[in-house]
C-alpha cells in the first residue's frame, strides 16, 4: 500500500510528460501534472513524518540478484522531493510564454519523475537506474533549447557525469558482490548493505564517492558545471543548480554514510579538506566572473562545499544544517537563475557590465534579486544563514580549527555577490547598456518570486519545523561518540 503511494508520486509526472508529448497544448498538462505532483508531495508529509513506511514490512519480490523495487520516504527524501516538485512548477510557469515544442515540457516532467525516483529509491540498483535516467532529459534540455554553445556544453555535461556514473556502477556492483561473498545474501537494499573493510572497502568507497563528487561537483571535477549552467535555458539552469547538484550530497548521506559508517568517519578530514577547497576556490572563481550566470554557477560550487562540510561533520547540527542548506541553495539559486532568465529575455545579455540602473526601471526585479543575493551571502534572517551556520557549527564541533576556512568562505561570498548585484541593478548604465529594454516583472513572474522569497524568509526566521521534519533519518547517522 504505502509503496504504491510513493510509486504514484514519481509516476505522476511521467504520465504528465507523456500527455504533454501527445497533446497539442503541451504546457497545460505540464502545469497540471507538475502542480498535482507538488500538492501530492505536501499530502505525503503526514505518513512520512509519522514514519509509517519504516515499520511496514517490505514484501516486493526480488527480481534477480536481490534487486527489488524498494521505495521509502523520510524527511530527507521528502524535503528534496518537495524542492524538485515545486521547482518544476516554477520552471513550467517561468517558461509559460515561450513558444517551446511539446518535447520541452515533457522533458521537464520526465526530469522531475527521474529525480523523484532518485530521492525515493531505497534499492541501490533502482537508485542507479533513476540516477542515469536524470541525465537524458537534462542532456536534451541543455542541448536543444540552450544558448549559443549548447551542444558543446551538453556533451561536456553528459561525458563528465557519465564518467562519474561508471565508477558509481562499478562501485555498487563490487559492493553487492562483496556483501554476497561475506553473508551469502544477494541484496541491493541500501539499509541492509554493509561495506567491507580494508583496501577493498576503500576502493569501493572511492569509486562511489567519485560518482557522487562529479555531481556535487567537487573541485577539480567541476568544470562541466559553469558551462552547463551558462548554456542551459533559464529553467534548465534552475533544475540543474536547484536539484541535480543535490543528488551528489544526497548520495553521500543516503548511501555512503550508512554503508561505510567507520570508513567514512576515518576519511572525514580528507573529505573535509576537499569541501573546504570547494568553498574557497568556488568563491574566488565567482569573484573573477563577468557573466552573471557563470558567477552564480561558481557560487553554487562554493555553497555545495558548505553543504558537504556540514554533512561530513556527522553531528546533529552539521547533518541537519547541510541538508537544510541543500534546500536553501535550491530555493535561492533557483530564484537567482529564474531572474537572470527574466533579465535575459528582456535584454538578451548576461554580462555584469551590460546592465545598470535597473532599480528605477524594474524595482521589483531589483527587490527580489536583492533578497536572493542576501540569502546567497548568508544574511541572518534569511534561509541561507541557517543552513550555512549550522553546517559550520558541525565543523566547529569535529574540527574546530577548520571552521576558519568556512568563515573565510562566508566573507568571500559578500565579495562576489554584492558587487555583481550592485553593478547590474544599482550601478551606472554604460554606453553599451541594454537596460533600456528591461521592463519590470509581470504578475506571473512576480508571483513566482514572491513564493520563493516567502520560503527564504520563512526558513530564515522559523526553520525549526522544517528541521524537525528532516531529523529522523539524519540523527541516525550521528556516530556514537
Amino acid at each position: 500500500m504505502s509503496q504504491d503511494l510513493l510509486t504514484l508520486f514519481w509516476v505522476m509526472p511521467a504520465v504528465g510528460g507523456l500527455c504533454a508529448l501527445l497533446g497539442r497544448q503541451a504546457r497545460w498538462p505540464a502545469l497540471a501534472f507538475s502542480a498535482a505532483t507538488a500538492l501530492y508531495g505536501l499530502i505525503l508529509l503526514g505518513p512520512a513524518s509519522s514514519g509509517a513506511w519504516h515499520s511496514a514490512p517490505v514484501s516486493s519480490p526480488s527480481w534477480a540478484f536481490g534487486i527489488r523495487y524498494l521505495l521509502d520516504c523520510d524527511g530527507l527524501s521528502l524535503s528534496l522531493c518537495w524542492l524538485t516538485a515545486f521547482l518544476t512548477v516554477a520552471c513550467v510557469i517561468a517558461s509559460w510564454n515561450k513558444d517551446y515544442p511539446p518535447a520541452y515540457w515533457a522533458a521537464f516532467l520526465f526530469l522531475e519523475s527521474a529525480l523523484l525516483g532518485v530521492f525515493l529509491a531505497r534499492d541501490l540498483f533502482l537508485f542507479f537506474v533513476f540516477w542515469e535516467a536524470v541525465l537524458i532529459p537534462m542532456f536534451f534540455i541543455i542541448g536543444l533549447w540552450g544558448m549559443e554553445g549548447r551542444r558543446h556544453a551538453a556533451m561536456k555535461f553528459f561525458l563528465f557525469t557519465f564518467f562519474g556514473s561508471i565508477f558509481l556502477l562499478l562501485g555498487s556492483i563490487a559492493l553487492v558482490t562483496r556483501h554476497h561473498a561475506a553473508t551469502g545474501v544477494w541484496t541491493w537494499d541500501m539499509a541492509a548493505l554493509k561495506g567491507p573493510g580494508g583496501l577493498a572497502g576503500l576502493a569501493i568507497f572511492a569509486a562511489m564517492a567519485l560518482g557522487f563528487a562529479v555531481k556535487i561537483p567537487l573541485v577539480p571535477l567541476h568544470t562541466w558545471l559553469p558551462d552547463a549552467h551558462t548554456e542551459a535555458p533559464a529553467a534548465g539552469s534552475v533544475m540543474l543548480a536547484g536539484v541535480l547538484l543535490k543528488m551528489g550530497v544526497y548520495g553521500f548521506l543516503r548511501i555512503l554514510w550508512p554503508v561505510f559508517p567507520k570508513l567514512s568517519w576515518e576519511l572525514m578530514p580528507w573529505l573535509m579538506l576537499l569541501a573546504g577547497v570547494n568553498v574557497i576556490y568556488g568563491a574566488l572563481c565567482a569573484m573573477a566572473q563577468k557573466d552573471l550566470k557563470r558567477l552564480i554557477a561558481y557560487s553554487s560550487v562554493a555553497h555545495l562545499g558548505f553543504c558537504l562540510m556540514g554533512v561530513l561533520s556527522r553531528t546533529p547540527e552539521g547533518l541537519l544544517g547541510g541538508s537544510l542548506q541543500l534546500l536553501n541553495h535550491g530555493i535561492t539559486t533557483g530564484a537567482l537563475f529564474l531572474m537572470v532568465g527574466f533579465l535575459y529575455e528582456r535584454g538578451h545579455r548576461r554580462g555584469l557590465g551590460d546592465y545598470g540602473e535597473l532599480y528605477g526601471r524594474a524595482p521589483w526585479l531589483t527587490f527580489f534579486f536583492g533578497v536572493a543575493t542576501m540569502s546567497s551571502v548568508g544574511l541572518p534572517g534569511l534561509n541561507g544563514f541557517v543552513g550555512e551556520f549550522m553546517s559550520l557549527i558541525g565543523v566547529a564541533r569535529v574540527m574546530p580549527r577548520f571552521v576558519f576556512v568556512g568563515v573565510i568562505g562566508v566573507t568571500l561570498a559578500a565579495a562576489y555577490a554584492l558587487p555583481a548585484f550592485q553593478s547590474v541593478f544599482l550601478g551606472p548604465a554604460g554606453k553599451a547598456s541594454v537596460s533600456a529594454k528591461v521592463t519590470d516583472l509581470d504578475r506571473r513572474e512576480s508571483s513566482l518570486l514572491w513564493a520563493l522569497c516567502g520560503a527564504m524568509f520563512a526558513i530564515g526566521i522559523y526553520p525549526a519545523p522544517l528541521l524537525r521534519v528532516l531529523e529522523p533519518f539524519l540523527l541516525g547517522l550521528v556516530p556514537a561518540r
Binding site: L320, L392, P428
Partner: protein, 620 residues
Amino acid sequence: MIEIPLAVYLLFLAPLAALAVGFFVTRPLKPEWTHIPILASCVVVTCSAASLAGMVYEGRGLDGTLFYWMVAGDWSVPFGVRIDGVGVSVLSMVSLVGALIHVYAAGYMKGEPGFARFFLVFHLFYLSMIGLLVSNNYVQFYLFWELVGVCSYFLIGYWMHKETARRAAMQAFLTLRVADFGLMLAVLVILGLYRNTRFAALYAVAGALPAGLLALLGVLFVWAAAGKSALFPLYFWLPDAMEGPTPVSALMHAATMVTAGIFLLVRSWPFISLVPGLPEFIAVVGAATAIFAALLAASQTDLKRILAYSTVSHLGLMAFGLGLRHVGAGVFHLVTHGFFKAVLFLCAGILAHAAHKSTVTVSEVGGLWRKMPLTFVCFTAAALSLAGFPFTAGFYSKDAILDAAFAHGGWAVAAGLAIAAGSAFYIFRMLFLTFFGSRADQQTMEHPHEAPPVMAVPVAFLALGAIGVGWLGHGLMRMLLSGWPPSVPPPGLTEPSHAVSAAALMAAALGAGAAYWTTMRLPSWDWDWRRERPALAALFAEDLGWRRVPAACVSSAVWFADKVGRVLDHDSWDAAIEGSAGACRRVSEAGGRLATGSISDSLWWVMTGAAALLAWAGYR
C-alpha cells in the same frame, strides 16, 4: 517559565507591524504617508524601552526565550530577550534618540523620490539595533549585527545615482563583513565547544574557560568591534559613509550601528576582562584612534566629515575608557555621545537642507548665527557638551573616562588630555567657521533659513538631552549595576576629583583657544595652509596614508581571484580537460592509421609480435 512583559513583545512587534503596514499598504497606495505607521512604532518602542528601564532600575532583570530558532536533536538556538542593566541603559538612549531622528527625517526627506523605501529601511535599521541590544545569545546577536550592516549598506547608498555613494556603501559593507568574520568565528568556536551561546550560561563559565580559548575569543570580539565601531585599523568606512542622507548619518553615528561594536565589547566584557593584557590593548587602540581621528577631524573641510571623524575619535575614547576597566564610564559616554552627536549631525543637516545640497563645506557657510539662531544655539549646546564644558552631559562622561586615565597614570593621562584638547579644537573650529565670520574665503549661503518645526523640534529636544543627561549619571550606574553579571567586579562610576576636572577643563580650554586663534584671529589660516602646502593637504586627505592600505588589500584580492578564476580555472585546468578530447581523437586517429588493411602491413605486425614473444620467452 519566566513571564515576559508586554513591553518586550512590543519592542519587536510594533516595528514589524509598522514595516508590514508600510510595505504592503502605504507604500503602494500613499508612499508619502509611509512615515506615519513608522513614527507610531517609534513612540511605542520608546515607551516600552522606558518601562523596561524602570523595571531594571527597580532591580528586576529578565532573561527568557520567545521561541526556538534553530534546532537539531537536543540542541537549539533560542530566540530570546535579555533585559539587563547594560542592555537597557543603551536601549533607552537608542530608542529615544532614534525616535527623534525619525521625526527629523520625516521633514528632511519630504519630497524625495524614494521616501517610502528610505523610511522602511531606516526603520528596519532601528529595529535591528533594538533587537541587538536585547538579544540573549550570541547567535541572535549576530543576526541583528548583520542586519544592521545590511541596512547601512542600503542607506549609505541611498542616492545610488552618485558614484561616491555606491562606492561608500560597498566599502562599508565589505569592511564590516571582514570585521564580522571575527564575531562569526568566535560564535562558532563557542558553539563548537559548548553548544550554547546564551550570555547567562557563558558568563557563568567564563572563569573556567581555558586561557588560550579566552584569548582567542577576546581578540576576535575586539576585531569585530573595531569594524562596527570604526576603531583603527578598520575605521575608514565611517567617514565615507557620509554619502548617505543626513538622518542616516545621525542615526548611524549616534544611536545605532557604531554603538553596536562598543556594546559587543561591553556584552563580552566578562571574557575580555579575563584575558591578561587585552583590556590594556583595547585602551591603546582606543587612545590611538581617538587622537588620530581628532587630528583628521581638525583638517577636514566638509561639515559632515568633520563630525564623522569626531565620531571615530569619540568611539576611540569609549574604547579607551573600557580598556582602562571602567566599563561604566564607557557606557555612560556612549549614552551622552548619542545625544550630542545626534544634535551636531542634525544641525549639519539643517545647514545642508537650507543650502539644498546633501552636504556643505566650510567654504560655503560662515556668519550664520544671526540668520539661523535656533540651529546656532542647539549646535553650541552640543559642541559645549562634546568639548566637556562643565555641567553639560559630555563633561560628566568624559571626566569619568579621564578619571580612569588619571587612575591608570602614565601614558593614559597624556592621551586623555590630548583627546580632550583635540576634541575641543575641532568642534570649536567647526563652530567658529560655520556660525561666525564670514571670511574672505567663504561664500556664504544665499538664502539661509531656519528649519521647519518638524526638524527643529527634535533637534531642540536632543539639545536639551545633550545638556542634561549627564545629571542622570548615577541613575544610569544604578541601572547598569542591577543587571550586571555577578562574576565580574561592578563597573563603578567614581566621583570625579576636582583635580581631574580642572585638568580636563584646562585641556579643553586650550583646544578651544587654539580654535579661536586659528579661525577668528587668523581668518584665512584654514585655507592658507592648504594652498601653501598642497603635499600636506594631500596627506591629510588620505588619512596620513592609511587609506592606501585597504585599497591595496582590495586590489590584491581582486588580482588573486582573477588569477584563480580566469588563469588557473578557465585557461589552464578547463582548457586541459577540453584538450583531452582532442588528445583522445588524435590517439585514435593515430591508431586508425596503423590499421591500413593491407596484407603486407598486417604480416609485418604479426612478425614483429612473434619476434617480441620469442624474445620474451628467451629472456625468461
